[in-house]
């Protein structure tokens, strides 16, 4: 790891000379470190923000990243349209302004690795190979959606693709992913996993219980903590007193990184390093991604709690797609025409997938009774007829 960029190399008393008589059962816990090599930087000389140059990504990978980034934003924009047409049964949750964190981090994994996203990590779901049609069908509560209309948005999973969807209870997926990795260890599968969390979700007991267990078991769990400034309407200052969420890693004896969450290249590079560290037996890692939620909790939210000008500042100066386009053009990885062509391809895919989802029927009502238990063991919970003999 990058020793030179540690934030706090506070030396502990070495303890040499006080040899202890008892034998350690475990190797000593490593020194707690926070790496800041890819943390947000102030722009130099009024130059507009771009992305880090320190990358091993090849041109075709850079363009694939761009595709996922645009796919995420445009799928969400399409969802908003569907919402306004009242075609969506529940709420629509946006990741506008923070798409780079989910896309860049998930892209750093291998295909067999796992992710468990939160609602603002649609990008990670798409990178794991879930098609937009599944997302559209889910949001529209259609029969062809992966949960057959039983659950909302990204609340589903595909274990073969390494995607385990979240539930609404924040923090719960941290212990669940710990169990996935515990099992993978027993099965000798060399996988790592990302569990996403936010500044709000980190206040839950489940987050603590799960990460603590993963840490003591030395499991290759990468927790990506998105500091996006708001949990529904509550600012981070009312969630926690720490300045950086990365500081919380010290409580678990694990290393942490702070990354500019709106720099997709930095998100990729940091996660790649964390995954390598985890995969070679280092154990759990916390990555704090500094970003900003430009939309409300869901589409209905009027964001009255946001100070005037704040959203506009992030939109004008720190949009992850603007920054990445600037980067791709500056380093000649792509031309404007190439980017426009990728965007057009993405738009076409979305059209096709949305049409497919709209053509799905709604679920057969009686399907509500099926699937609580394995049907070989327990019959469906059909509505009983009262006083029927």
């Amino acid at each position: 790891m990058d020793q030179d960029t540690q934030r706090r190399p506070e030396k502990q008393p070495s303890g040499k000379g006080e040899r202890r008589n008892f034998r350690r059962r475990r190797p000593p816990v490593h020194e707690v470190r926070i790496f800041t090599k890819y943390a947000p930087r102030k722009p130099v000389d009024g130059r507009r923000l771009s992305c880090t140059n320190d990358t091993t990504l090849k041109t075709e990978q850079l363009l694939e990243l761009y595709r996922y980034l645009k796919l995420t934003r445009l799928v969400e924009e399409r969802l908003v349209n569907l919402y306004r047409q009242t075609k969506i049964v529940g709420g629509v949750f946006r990741s506008l302004g923070q798409e780079a964190t989910a896309v860049g981090s998930a892209y750093a994994l291998r295909p067999q690795d796992f992710v468990t996203p939160l609602i603002r990590d649609l990008g990670a779901v798409l990178v794991k190979g879930i098609r937009p049609r599944e997302i559209f069908a889910q949001y529209m509560a259609k029969a062809w959606g992966p949960s057959g209309g039983r659950d909302l948005n990204i609340h589903f999973g595909d274990v073969n693709k390494g995607f385990i969807g979240p539930i609404s209870h924040l923090g719960d997926m941290i212990p669940v992913m710990t169990g996935v990795l515990l099992a993978a260890g027993m099965q000798k599968k060399p996988i790592v996993a990302i569990a996403y969390i936010g500044d709000g979700g980190m206040s839950t007991g489940a987050f603590h219980e799960g990460l603590n267990f993963a840490a003591v078991q030395r499991l290759p769990l990468i927790v990506v903590a998105e500091y996006n400034h708001y949990a529904y309407s509550t600012p981070t200052s009312l969630q926690t007193l720490v300045r950086d969420l990365a500081e919380k890693a010290a409580g678990y004896g694990i290393p942490a990184h702070i990354v500019d969450g709106n720099d997709i290249v930095a998100c990729y590079e940091v996660t790649k390093r964390a995954a390598e560290y985890a995969r070679r037996g280092g154990g759990a890692v916390l990555i704090e991604a500094k970003t900003y939620r430009r939309k409300g909790h869901a589409e209905h939210d009027d964001q009255r709690y946001v100070p005037p000008g704040e959203i506009e500042w992030w939109e004008q100066h720190n949009d992850p797609i603007d920054r990445y386009e600037r980067y791709l053009l500056e380093c000649s990885a792509a031309t404007k025409e190439k980017l426009a062509q990728i965007t057009a391809d993405v738009a076409r895919e979305i059209e096709e997938d949305c049409a497919w989802a709209e053509s799905s029927p709604m679920p057969d009502p009686e399907q509500a009774a099926y699937g609580v238990f394995d049907s070989n063991n327990v019959p469906p919970a059909l509505r009983p007829k009262v006083l029927e003999r």
């Binding site: 274990v159 719960d172 669940v176 515990l182 099992a183 219980e209 003591v216």
Partner: protein
């Protein structure tokens, strides 16, 4: 102070079958399933070297190693969540709550994750969540719970509670093989009760989930019960026999899903029913059973369905208080006599 603790089969593979106590029967069941299926593993607090607070998992770590007998932090959320995650990967975890009272600390993940996962996206959680339940041992408000009613209203969880050594082994094996989450309650009063020592078969048997058993055949009225209250009911039935009353006892064994055919068959046979359970009366499983009988066998009844259960308080510590809290044999006798005379 002398510590005359008799250890059962410390570090040695238990025999198959033989004469066993209730706790030995559970251990045999887990042991055999771990031998049979490499995906079965145990996790919980102090389940490893220490063998669990009640020594249910004693010796497993020596046989199967710490990779398959995982000591966890004091963290029921981590235990339940990790069991769910491991089950998604095709493992069959057997998770222990040190006392079933602590199931409340894992309630969220049990009711929201484990219970709903198959329904939401078809991913069944094949996991067992087991632990010592029950009162009567002077263990106070936090080590005496009977939690079944908390989970009766949650679709997606199965619940079993054996009352014999034979069923204890057969049900733990069935629970481990079940494709859905099973809560397995062990009344801690039964673990080493000499009365429950019995010879169990050496062959690989299971007791199917969802099936009640008739603990005592009778003609005059039915007591529907489970767990340690089966013994209370048997004691009462013996006394009542002297008075000329022939009591049938249904031991539910599975609390969810309830064996309605067995319940209704006994109602139609005896026409009078008393439901007996150890948890508090209001909102208890007895109400659900009584309502089912009222809806589906009303014209077969010669008397109202009555409930005998604990009073509506937390479980108190001091012996006279706890004895008042719990239904005693005399309470059952009194209720049965009134019911018979109705």
């Amino acid at each position: 102070m002398s510590t005359a603790i008799k250890k059962e089969h410390k570090s040695a593979r238990p025999e198959r079958g033989g004469v066993v106590t209730f706790v030995e029967a559970i251990r045999q069941g887990i042991w055999e399933e771990m031998e049979r299926d490499p995906t079965v593993f145990v996790l919980g607090e102090d389940v490893g070297v220490y063998g669990g607070a009640f020594k249910v998992t004693d010796g497993l770590i020596d046989e199967f190693g710490k990779e398959r007998v995982v000591d966890t932090p004091i963290s029921e959320g981590a235990i339940v969540g990790a069991a769910c995650g491991a089950a998604l990967m095709g493992m069959r975890p057997v998770a222990e709550f040190q006392f079933i009272d602590f199931i409340s600390a894992g309630f969220d993940l049990l009711t929201n994750y484990a219970a709903k996962c198959r329904y939401r996206w078809g991913a069944g959680i094949a996991a067992v969540f087991r632990g010592p339940c029950g009162s009567g041992l002077r263990t106070g408000p936090f080590h005496s719970l009977n939690p079944e009613a908390f989970f009766m209203n949650t679709a997606g969880l199965k619940m079993v509670e054996p009352s014999t050594a034979y069923d204890a082994k057969g049900l733990i094996k069935a629970a481990i093989r079940d494709p859905d989450p099973v809560l397995y309650f062990e009344h801690k009063k039964l673990y080493r009760l000499p009365r429950l020592r019995e010879e169990i078969p050496s062959d690989d048997y299971i007791v199917e989930i969802g099936q009640a058993r008739t603990a005592r055949e009778g003609r005059d009225l039915t007591i529907i019960t489970f767990g340690t209250m089966v013994l209370t009911a048997l004691d009462a039935a013996e006394e009542l026999e002297k008075e000329g009353l022939d009591v049938e006892i249904i031991d539910l064994r599975t609390l969810a899903p309830l064996d309605k055919p067995a319940i209704l068959a006994s109602v139609k046979k005896t026409n009078k029913v008393l439901v007996l359970h150890e948890a508090s009366r209001t909102g208890g499983i007895g109400g659900e059973i009584a309502a089912t009988i009222g809806e589906e066998a009303f014209e077969w009844l010669d008397a109202p369905v009555v409930r005998v259960a604990s009073i509506d308080t937390p479980v108190p510590y001091s012996p006279p208080l706890e004895d008042y809290y719990l239904p005693q044999t005399k309470d059952v006798l009194e209720a049965v006599r009134r019911l018979a005379a109705y």
